[in-house]
Symmetry: C2
Subunit: 199 residues, 2 copies
DNA sequence: AATATTAGTGGAGAGTTCTCCGTTTTGTCA
DNA sequence: TGACAAAACGGAGAACTCTCCACTAATATT
């Protein structure tokens, strides 16, 4: 590992962040970023195999913070005992995180098209979310909070419903985050509850 | 409207269908289609503003048949009386239709990226599905089959969960259509039922 | 210090999508 | 039938993503 390579990488990230902020993600071309960073296109693509990868790199800090925050919340002494309530907490934080990072998340998602489409399900972002959803759902079923269900599929459904492009559309419709959260809760919390649980 | 214009259009559709079948949608470029059809790129783009539009045109017959079939089913004398059961029927047919047309549906969906992303929600495909979902959900609520819910959001959620890219991924995971249908039913039929309805 | 090794570089160019606009073809109307 | 407007054409080229590979320079070796 050469020392200057690391510098180039940092320079690319810095230039990308600046250009994305100034003119928007989709309005910024990879060539433009390479030029601004003072490197060739080859170097840019060696470091980030595509634009989505670059978006992911820019999201890394926020995503890491989000994961830590969620882990902390779920482990906290005052965390809800109910698995479904913890799931709701996770979704709440997730929606807030998405709202803040919409441009980069959309940029990332859009890069997973064509040949690359299947890759999104191998990204750490998806993996971690799917695992978190699954764990909580599994626990809810084991504790009898939720009735029987297909955990793997349900986690995917939750992922699909909280996908950033849908959220953008809902926002344009005028839906606030709270309304989306309520809708998700209705489907994935209340809807899954053991039927006997109604107060 | 010139006579030869209509011919060109048909020729484009025929060439596209042939190439898509032979080599796959994403492996076929618009130039290739234009060339095979014996027209210039300009003519191709005058008729179909982008590849997704072309996919939609190829889907037209199947989509029309699907709509008719569903309308017939829902109106039939022996159609279930329950709105939720009719919704289930719709989803069942929808999943079958998607399964058959996955390549074109994916091609269509992928074209709605970048500037065009919001357009998918204005496409007749989305509009019709959303309306059908909404109508049935509305009816279910009015009849007391389903408990209170955000109809518009729930219809969007159902749309997201039955999106072709997710279905492809599920297939790769080895999930059969039946398993997907069961998962959807669990969330959008059972999950929405009035809690008292349990046998 | 000289040399060898190899990670890293950069930009030309292939392949796309889509636009623009000068040219051609068609239908109409005198 | 001849002339005209409008509709349709087609392909050059702009803008883009991403690959390829001859070259360069940082590090390891002696």
């Amino acid at each position: 590992m050469r020392r200057d390579a690391a510098q180039n990488r940092e320079q690319i990230i810095a230039s990308a962040r600046q250009l994305f902020t100034a003119q928007g993600v989709s309005e910024t071309s990879m060539n433009q970023i390479a030029q601004a960073a003072g490197v060739g296109a080859g170097t840019l693509y060696r470091n980030f195999s595509h634009k989505g990868d670059l978006c992911l790199a820019l999201l890394r800090d926020d995503l890491g913070a989000f994961r830590k925050q969620v882990n902390g919340l779920l482990m906290a002494a005052d965390a809800p005992d109910s698995a479904l309530e913890r799931l709701e907490l996770l979704v709440d934080k997730l929606l807030k995180m998405i709202e803040i990072n919409i441009p980069l998340l959309i940029g990332m998602q859009e890069a997973y098209a064509g040949d690359r489409r299947p890759d999104i399900y191998h990204s750490p972002y998806y993996q971690w979310l799917h695992e978190s959803f699954s764990t909580l759902l599994q626990e809810a079923v084991e504790r009898g909070e939720a009735a029987e269900l297909d955990i793997c599929f349900t986690a995917d459904a939750l992922f699909a419903v909280t996908a950033p492009p849908l959220m953008v559309f809902q926002q344009q419709r005028g839906f606030e985050r709270q309304r989306i959260l309520d809708g998700v809760r209705r489907l994935f919390i209340q809807g899954l509850m053991t039927k006997g649980d109604i107060a």
